[in-house]
Amino acid sequence: MHRVLAVAQAVVSDAIRRRIVWVVALFALVLAGAIPMLPSYGVGVEGAVYREIALAMTYVAAMVVALVLSVARIPTEIERRTLYSALAREVRRWEYVFGTWLGIFITLGAVMIAFGAVIFGVGWPVYHEPMWQLWEGVLAIWLEAGVIAAFCVAVSTVSVPAVVSVAALAFLFVTHVRTGLLGGPENPMWHFYPSLDAFNIIAPVAHGSGVSLAYLRSMVAVFVGWAGALVILGALGFARRDL
């Protein structure tokens, strides 16, 4: 496990210094700060709207960061031969894939904490209530971004960044159209459709009272299933690849 952590640490060190992360972070900060100035025809913007838009912005920013960090990471390392010296050591291919994903996931976590702190910190004084449920939304977005990163890492072990990007967008689309394709739980295929909808808790967080601890556990189960399966598939693809 120390080799996985070593790879992850290197990814975090490298990723955290990429300016693109901070450009996107700055973008999100500016927008989160601008939310109270949204057009409202003078009737005001209430907390629910703030929460919804803040989480939507966080979601978009998280997805962009996840794609930026994960789409080209392994292909670039192969192209530039940076991983030769690592894989020529006592490092298994699966350890490299897992460590790479873990590093990206940890980086995303740091970015999400920053986003969460901003939207929470702006929302409290403006709407005079501590919106603790925002953190549930931030957690959900982080987990979904982790799944997207796992998908990108897995595909990138056997493909080039352009293909990975298109595949990731297609994956996002397909995993979010369960309702559109199947209607609702009355459809017999409903529970068998691989979806990321479990992470979409913007409505209950923004307009309801958040989600229960049991729901959060279910969400984590969905995350473990998705991320675990994708990382293993990535490791299998990478193991067979000539570098």
Binding site: Y41, V43, R92, G180, F192, D197, Y215, G225
Partner: protein, 228 residues
């Protein structure tokens, strides 16, 4: 772990097990949080979703309106329509993205008017009429706002008159309810010819609605209230 990943069969089984675990978690999550209710409007927009892809702007407006629809019927179902302030930023965005989507003008203008922003509400209702001159609902909406909330009776009558012209109605019920709304305007101005015409039309529409059995269908969320 090396042994696990060393065998493609075992790795494949592990992947399947993890995906099954994911589906169990997904089912549990489905059971724990209510989905936003799917309404007739939502379903129709959803069906049209792929067609809208050819026009990203109108598609985005439809998605936003569709989402608002679900929230309205789930999290805010007990709240009167003109108290649903949370809709305002979205409604504003929807009217900007798709000026031909009529319902946001109607909803937003009343929310504004009932929250001390009459001028904003009237301006929005007027913009709706300008962008959709053949939408009967928006003519009547503007006429009713002018009639009830301003002293400008002439302007109200002008819009009511337009609603009797070459306009489009979503269905007979909408036309019936709209005629019922503009009848008091003609009564106030003493326009006897129009009073007779609208009264006769209401009788005709009543009979037609009864004949077609449309009264129940209009209650599309089954809450025994007419929509809007």
């Amino acid at each position: 772990m090396d042994a696990l990943l060393g065998s493609r069969v075992i790795s494949g089984m592990l992947v399947i097990a993890l995906l099954a675990f994911m589906l169990v978690g997904q089912a549990a999550a489905d059971a724990l949080v209510p989905m936003t209710e799917k309404t007739a409007t939502g379903r129709s927009v959803e069906r049209a979703g792929f067609a809208y892809l050819t026009g990203v702007r109108t598609f985005a407006a439809a998605v936003m309106w569709n989402r608002l629809d679900g929230l309205f019927h789930t999290y805010y179902s007990g709240l009167p329509l003109d108290e649903q302030i949370y809709m305002m930023p979205t409604l504003n965005m929807v009217t900007l993205l798709d000026p031909q989507l009529t319902q946001p003008y109607y909803v937003a203008s009343w929310i504004l008017a009932n929250h001390g922003e009459l001028d904003e509400g009237l301006a929005l209702a007027k913009r709706g009429v300008e962008n959709n001159p053949s939408a009967g609902l928006l003519r009547v909406n503007y006429a009713q706002l002018l009639f009830l909330l301003t002293p400008d009776l002439d302007a109200a009558e002008e819009q009511a008159e337009a609603a009797l012209g070459d306009v489009v109605w979503m269905d007979l019920l909408e036309q019936h309810d709209s005629y019922a709304v503009i009848l008091p305007i003609f009564k106030k101005t003493g326009n006897d010819a129009r009073i007779d015409y609208v009264t006769n039309e209401l009788s005709r529409l009543d009979a037609e609605i009864d004949r077609l059995g449309l009264g129940v269908e209009h209650d599309d969320d089954h809450d025994h209230d007419h929509e809007h």
